[in-house]
């Protein structure tokens, strides 16, 4: 029995050593929003090219997990595609806006509707408008495609359109790619996705006459947009490498990289 106990202790220690891989040396570790993968990946790559010997890591877990990770000290910088909630700020976390992401409202290319107002979009998503003919399209039932509860894109979309907790989704999918594929294969469908990820298989709608683009997002005329946020601990100083990365991504040099990733840097 004693022997078994010793082995169990060894086993537990082995497992513990797996989980204890925090930041060390010349590494900056980031963790969080999957929507930010493209932009943070491009920034990290550029950072590693500019600073030989420094390593950048990114763990695509989701905004919530990223915020938890930084508050537990498991990464240097957390990535969130929504602003911090007040209880998260109360835990001693600070947010810095890195850039803005427009959320595009997408329909099937066969759909004849090209423009909706925010009001119409929120009526569609709350189930008040159920047929495309009510907004100038053909006589087809509207199929609402959305993201899963907790997704940054969903949170961004619902808070801008004022439909939080009221959406009558037909499908809740777990990735931007799934949303685009589904909307692309169903002419009844409407969905939303990060502007940077939208491709030709779907049609982007203009909102209140403004089509989504960098300009319209920066000047605020395109309504459905959200911030991409860097999350750090207020009371803990970043490591030298992490500080260097942090300064770099907010510098003017990084703006071009951010732009090329399809999102809009701050002015």
């Amino acid at each position: 029995m004693k022997r078994v106990m010793v082995f169990m202790a060894v086993l537990v220690m082995c497992l513990a050593s797996f989980t204890a891989c925090g930041s060390k040396g010349e590494t900056v570790s980031t963790d969080g929003s999957t929507s930010m993968e493209k932009v943070i990946g491009a920034l990290g790559e550029q950072f590693q090219t500019d600073n030989k010997g420094m390593t950048f890591t990114y763990n695509p877990t989701g905004s919530g997990s990223g915020i938890t990770a930084v508050s537990e000290g498991r990464c240097d910088i957390g990535l969130s595609s929504r602003s911090l909630k007040s209880d998260e700020k109360a835990k001693g976390l600070t947010e810095t806006v890195l850039c803005y992401d427009g959320i595009a409202v997408i329909v099937n290319p066969k759909n004849t509707v090209g423009d909706l107002t925010v009001d119409q979009i929120s009526k569609i998503y709350t189930g008040e408008i159920t047929n495309w003919s009510e907004v100038g399209g053909s006589d087809l039932e509207i199929v609402l495609i959305g993201r899963e509860a907790g997704s940054g894109t969903r949170d961004g979309f619902e808070s801008v359109t004022g439909t939080a907790d009221k959406c009558k989704y037909r499908q809740e999918l777990t990735s931007t790619g799934d949303v685009i594929t589904t909307v692309g294969s169903n002419e009844n469908a409407i969905g939303y996705a990060s502007l940077a990820s939208v491709n030709d298989s779907v049609k982007m709608l203009s909102v209140g006459g403004v089509s989504p683009s960098e300009q319209t997002i920066l000047n605020g005329s395109y309504a459905i947009q959200r911030p991409f946020v860097l999350v750090t601990k207020s009371d803990k100083k970043l490591s030298d490498t992490a500080q260097k990365f942090y300064d770099y991504v907010l510098s003017d040099d990084a703006k071009e990289v951010i732009r090329s990733a399809g999102v809009v840097p701050l002015n």
Partner: protein, 287 residues
């Protein structure tokens, strides 16, 4: 003396390796119970298990998982309803009737089916099955419980076929010979003698299929629509597995704890199924 030490060391290494598995099971069980209980306590067991509304991120969150439980039960039952007759007939055919060449081809196809990753089932379901259901039944959208049942039925075929085939092939030849000698036709013999003799093995195959169906997440996530509705055949539904998988990545606080509680419920379901499976397998051994 030296060789004795060597024996001891090897013995120790084997013991450690063996304990890794035991340790993992213990770790998972303990972890699930520890992280699953708090949310159930906070929500209340009845509210949690029998609540019909799941709104985990709403400003007034509700955590009722009855829709998920019912969907998992309906989905699994549906998959068994379609998968078992097909799988059972196939296994009788392969074990008893099929010519050697046909048997070899079909058997390797079944093995291939077992090796296809579930995300591929999901992808094919999403791109082929879901639009087909939409068009055939004239629905606005095809992702539904029905699509999930269909995908699950195909996914459980390999386990049902291979396990019941093994059971049928293990039936002593004398039984069948005796039946044939008494004047029964081959088909009568297979169904009335062989199948009856192999029935606990076939039951084990069914239970294994249930286990596979109830535990599948990826494939059903891609075809079921994932909205927390009470199950409707052509409605969008969410299973126990997909409830955990779809919200886990962005969850926080009580929502995350509640997801662990769902996982605990799922774990209990699987334990129950495993116990049933062991019961059948044990009976088969004793026979």
């Amino acid at each position: 003396m030296k060789s004795k030490n060597f024996e001891r060391i090897v013995h120790g290494i084997f013991l450690i390796l063996g304990l890794v598995t035991v340790g993992c099971v213990l770790l998972i069980t303990v972890y699930l119970i520890i992280s699953g209980i708090p949310a159930i306590k906070q929500i209340g067991l009845t509210n949690f298990l029998f609540g019909k509304v799941w709104e985990s991120t709403s400003s007034n969150p509700q955590y009722g998982i009855l829709p998920f439980i019912m969907t998992s039960i309906y989905g699994t039952a549906g998959a068994i309803l379609i998968g078992v007759p097909v799988g059972f007939m196939t296994s009788v055919y392969l074990a008893k009737v099929a010519p050697k060449k046909v048997k070899a081809v079909v058997e390797s196809a079944v093995k291939l089916l077992a090796g296809i990753p579930s995300v591929v089932y999901g992808l094919v379901g999403m791109l082929v099955l879901v639009p087909a259901i939409k068009n055939i039944f004239n629905l606005p959208d095809g992702s539904s419980l029905f699509a999930a049942i269909f995908v699950l039925a195909i996914m459980i075929l390999p386990s049902i076929i291979s396990v019941s085939m093994t059971a049928l092939e293990a039936v002593p030849k004398e039984y069948e010979d005796a039946s044939l000698a008494l004047g029964a036709t081959p088909i009568e013999t297979y169904f009335k003698v062989s199948v009856r003799a192999a029935k606990s093995g076939i039951a084990a195959a069914v239970v294994l299929g249930v286990g596979r169906a109830i535990g599948e997440a990826m494939a059903v996530m891609m075809v079921a629509g994932n909205v927390a509705n009470m199950p409707k055949l052509f409605g969008s539904v969410r299973f126990l597995t997909t409830a955990v998988a779809s919200e886990m990545s962005y969850s926080s606080g009580l929502q995350k704890q509640a997801l662990f509680s769902i996982a605990l419920v799922l774990f209990l379901f699987i334990m129950l199924i495993n116990a049933t499976l062991n019961f059948f397998l044990k009976r088969e051994k004793e026979r």
